[in-house]
């Protein structure tokens, strides 16, 4: 584990697995990163995640309790939607396994194919 990005993923993993909102200390205990992390580090990561909209928090007593804003599946679906929205893009950042943006060229290729193999 290194880098803030990986820590964010690990913290989200803990929150997604938890049935209910967690305090910072609970998150710290739930983290299995292979090395001891400081309380303030986890607090910073949770703060970042809150700022980015991944988690919401509520003041209970004196301490904040954190929970994920969406379920893991919803988050995955959102991420996919974002990817797919841009996959028809002119930039070619993404290549999709079973989708292509060029009806016209497919038609050209199909016409170039010998008749024998064009039969369905």
């Amino acid at each position: 584990m290194h880098g803030l990005g990986e820590l964010e993923a690990a913290v989200m993993d803990v929150l997604w697995r938890a049935p209910e909102p967690m305090k910072v200390r609970d998150v710290l205990e739930g983290l299995d990163t292979g090395k001891q992390l400081a309380y303030t580090t986890v607090l910073t990561v949770l703060d970042n995640l809150h700022r980015k909209g991944w988690v919401q928090r509520e003041l209970v007593g004196k301490a904040y309790q954190y929970e994920a804003t969406t379920s893991r599946a919803e988050a995955a679906a959102n991420a996919l939607r974002e990817l797919l929205n841009s996959s028809g893009d002119p930039d070619g950042v993404l290549l999709h396994f079973a989708r292509s943006a060029s009806e016209h060229e497919t038609e050209l290729l199909r016409k170039a194919l010998p008749r024998r193999s064009r039969k369905k």
Partner: protein, 312 residues
């Protein structure tokens, strides 16, 4: 003057006629990388041939020393225009070509920046939501029911896949899908797509440039299929493609995807000689060289033929 004109004509003809020939090559079941490389080399060749023509106009003897042996005939063929007219024409043409190249560079750099930004955004989201399976390139697994797979450009690029693949496909078929995506990354296919986009933006005049984005997108899919076939076998790739494309992603984009998938399935169904690497490399080299020299050679052969006919 005449040499320059001949070069320009053949450059134009290449831009017009090459697409059909190259697509025919694909349909005959050639290694998809051959037409892909030939296509890109042809675009370079058309631009350089045009630039060469302009440069010849500017040279004092219009490059006629090339045809020194046919000098007498040459002078009779050369219906003289005032040298100054040719020089001006050459300068204007050359300026045009240089201008286009500069614009190509600007468009490319701008596109590269935009892609880098988009890639960063995607990765920021994926890092949190996806399970990372280390490897080269790493695979990011998203917990989602639809079987989907992408490759995200970059150095290193990443493969993005959904757990739905495991639910719909066998282990070998999933491996075929991943092999296809890795082939995109290893072959720098995103870069080829981006280059063809930039070309068609800057030079939309000839079919060779205008059609490049669509054709390159199709061809890189075929090339990645071919790579997957080499490691996983034709039947596995076919089954994986059917399994993924048949699983009802909604929206009009899919209709297109289906068409494209059908062509890929058709091509996979055709018997293909297993390429050995030495022969492939030779074919790639030959494709590039041919595409590069055909316009110039045609121009000079055409001129020689003209001379032979006109001055027996």
């Amino acid at each position: 003057m005449t040499v320059a004109a001949a070069l320009l004509v053949t450059a134009g003809l290449t831009g017009l006629l090459a697409p059909r020939q190259l697509l025919r090559l694909v349909a005959r079941g050639a290694d998809p990388l051959v037409p892909l490389l030939a296509w890109l080399a042809s675009t370079v060749s058309v631009v350089t041939t045009a630039a060469l023509a302009m440069t010849l106009l500017l040279l004092p003897d219009h490059g006629s020393h090339v045809l020194a042996g046919a000098h007498e005939c040459w002078s009779s063929l050369e219906h003289g225009m005032a040298p100054s007219v040719e020089a001006v024409g050459g300068a204007v043409g050359l300026a045009l070509v240089v201008g286009l190249l500069v614009r190509l560079a600007v468009v490319s750099v701008r596109g590269a920046r935009r892609r880098a930004r988009r890639r960063r955004d995607h990765l920021a989201v994926l890092r949190v939501t996806a399970r990372r399976e280390p490897g080269s390139p790493p695979t990011l697994w998203l917990d989602h029911d639809e079987p989907l797979a992408f490759s995200l450009a970059g150095t290193p690029g990443v493969v993005v896949a959904t757990e739905g693949l495991h639910r719909r496909l066998t282990r070998e078929q999933v491996e075929a899908v991943l092999a296809h995506e890795r082939a995109h990354l290893n072959g720098r296919h995103h870069l080829l797509v981006a280059a063809s986009d930039a070309l068609s933006t800057v030079l939309p005049f000839l079919p060779l440039f205008r059609r490049a984005p669509g054709v390159v997108r199709e061809l890189v899919e075929l090339a990645a299929d071919a790579a997957a076939v080499r490691t996983c076998g034709v039947e596995t790739v076919r089954a994986a493609l059917l399994g993924v494309s048949g699983s009802g992603t909604p929206g009009s984009a899919l209709a297109m995807g289906r068409d494209s998938v059908q062509v890929r399935l058709d091509l996979l169904a055709r018997p293909r000689r297993r390429p050995d690497s030495a022969r492939s490399l030779l074919a790639y080299g030959a494709a590039c060289t041919t595409a590069m020299v055909v316009p110039s050679v045609t121009a000079f052969v055409g001129l020689l033929a003209l001379i032979v006919v006109a001055c027996p």
